[in-house]
Symmetry: C2
Subunit: 387 residues, 2 copies
């Protein structure tokens, strides 16, 4: 599939974009949010649940699947789509981020990265070529290059060194690619340094990837910095290629990302906070465990059309959470994902009919993240983006 | 509803019985197994999942619901059916068993039982009248009397004393009943003493309940003793009333119970062992975590028609368990319950067409509980029956 066939841009009023991604597993309307299925499962949900919530593209993690059950197992089972019984579109992350955030890091050289498994401590070696080879075996519709991630607060020198290596690795990934039915995306790095972001974007754009991700954000920096870096990067990205903001996915951040021209989002946040009892509503996040919901007849979110809100009361969901019942986690996950898919659809429609600016203003003024909930979100900041 | 309308016996060849329970929430074919939903949820499943697995009657526990969310909350929400969004038939246990097995017991007198919550240690008082009042508020189709449970190994004197109290409490429950659309079942006690079992059955039968449970079994005694007591009790029960063997529900025990004229079973075993990775198959129980399943393409149980076996491979389910994924618990629960509902249907059909004896022999000779799995089952023997 040629890059120009992979993505079609339909409209770009004031920066916000509506388009479509064409993949061997169907067309995905953008802007799109990808539920995170690190270990070949979006936690608590079946593939049918994911579709029912309104999604036809998910993300899985090469790092997790390499360690468990092993790329060989999934390859033998006919690839990741078949293994997890998902026939929609799929993106796999290269494993770079997880190696740097989850695994005790051993050594990084130009060749690749040596790391220890966070599960059993065993030593492994990952190279750009292996990252592509593994992702080709997994068979996702979109693959990511192996990148070197830096932390918030790292010096410009350190960030530049990692960025330069990320660029060299991106070229090696491109060369290593054998299958042509998968789109390989580059990842722009450069930390919180606008000049490095510009350099990284220019370098990678020259290599002509079918898509570009913005990496290394949402790692603890203030929100303004995140979006300043997004703007800095977007300005240099080619208009006709999809733009993927990695690890960002709260409702308010999605709206702000879309306003800055982002087409693709992923984040474990909606599903993770759901498992803590935090539900998205049009008025902000609520904590369903609170006493106020104990006797509340009527759905958790009266404006929601998800199967949870259509079937159960706030009182029942509150009871399940208070009683540590497993069903609570699933019902809340379904709700938060449905909230996000409805949001994506509304965003897209507002872009297409020219009302995005008003939608953005209305949404952000009514959607307030309550203080009691921010606590949930900020647990493990470094990990908050990508499980 | 008159007792004779509640149960209709269709056939009784050689002890095994096929019939139907008529309830305000539908007709339930017997022999029947009730999935256990102690806290107003069959762990990991929605009401739709339970129906899809083939069940139209479930069990819930008054003890658990009294403590959380509180009978008042469920009453306010319009009863337990509406609270948990279950429109099928339902049986509630009185709380007697849980008070004696889960809660630190304070004091028992003829008046009732004082106990402490196993959740927060608060003190509570339960009487036969309150047990009925709570169950009327919950609104299940079948209620159970409050009984005094004894442990395996208790002296005949102690068991007799508890049995006599259980009889007095049964009379008080009968008198306390106000709603007439709910069937109140008595519970036969008498421990492992045949003479006491006979006395208990005769005493309670004279009170003319619409159904009779056999309680105080599967509490650690050998299997032969369990079924000897079932036989001892069944011999004295009226033929035209349903017989409920409480807390028994492994596939092999169900077959043996049906052979002895049992109509109703409940047990947390099928769902609990599922969450440990133990799946029922026609050849016995398998441990899906085992290395043998890591690369096994094809369903966990090739003979099963459940949504898990129709959708996912043994390798995928094994991966989910090995990776501590929540979806594993749900997929295995669906499978084990479907196995049981298929078994109940086969048992019923074999009774109706006169082939039960052959079915029993075939099933028990091919179904072997492997040693590695028995371990899972025997954790917490006292609790194994009723969660």
């Amino acid at each position: 599939m040629l890059p120009e066939e992979h993505f079609r841009l339909l409209k770009t009023p004031n920066g916000a974009r509506a388009g479509e991604l064409n993949t061997p597993h169907g067309t995905v309307l953008t802007p799109v949010f990808l539920p995170v299925g690190s270990q070949a499962t979006v936690k608590t949900l079946t593939p049918q649940d994911i579709k029912d919530a309104g999604f036809n593209m998910v993300l899985a993690n090469t790092y997790h699947l390499y360690l468990r059950p092993g790329i060989d197992v999934i390859d033998k089972m006919g690839g990741l789509h078949r293994f997890m019984a998902w026939n929609g579109a799929m993106l796999t992350d290269s494993g770079g981020y997880q190696v740097f955030s989850l695994a005790p890091l051993c050594k990084i050289t130009d060749d690749g990265v040596t790391f220890r498994s966070h599960i059993d401590g065993s030593e492994h070696f990952l190279t750009p070529e292996l990252a592509v080879q593994y992702q080709e075996a997994l068979g996702a519709d979109v693959m990511m290059v192996l990148d070197e991630c830096t932390a918030y607060g790292d010096s410009q020198e350190k960030v530049q060194k990692a960025m330069d290596r990320t660029h060299r690795w991106a070229e090696r990934c491109l060369k290593a690619q054998k299958r042509k039915d998968q789109a390989l995306y580059a990842i722009v790095q450069g930390g919180m340094f606008p000049e490095l972001r510009r350099q990284s974007t220019e370098y990678l754009t020259a290599l002509d990837f079918p898509g570009y991700a913005i990496g290394g954000l949402s790692v603890g920096e203030p929100k303004e910095t995140t979006f300043a870096m997004v703007e800095e990067t977007s300005a240099w990205l080619p208009v006709d290629r999809p733009r993927y903001l990695m690890g960002v996915g709260s409702p308010e951040d999605i709206v702000e990302g879309v306003a800055r021209g982002i087409d693709i989002f992923d984040s474990a946040l909606p599903t993770r906070v759901a498992r803590n009892g935090a539900l998205f509503t049009g008025k902000g996040r609520i904590n369903i465990r609170r006493a106020a919901y104990r006797k509340m007849d009527g759905p958790p979110d009266p404006d929601c059309d998800c199967s949870t809100c259509r079937t159960f009361s706030a009182a029942y969901l509150s009871h399940l959470f208070r009683s540590d019942e497993l069903l609570a986690l699933r019902l809340a996950t379904v709700h938060n994902l449905r909230f996000i898919s409805n949001l994506m659809q509304e965003l897209r429609e507002s872009i297409l009919d020219g009302t995005f600016a008003a939608f953005r203003k209305d949404f952000l003024s009514s959607y307030k993240t309550t203080n009691e909930q921010v606590r949930v979100e900020q647990k493990g900041r470094w990990l908050r983006g990508r499980e």
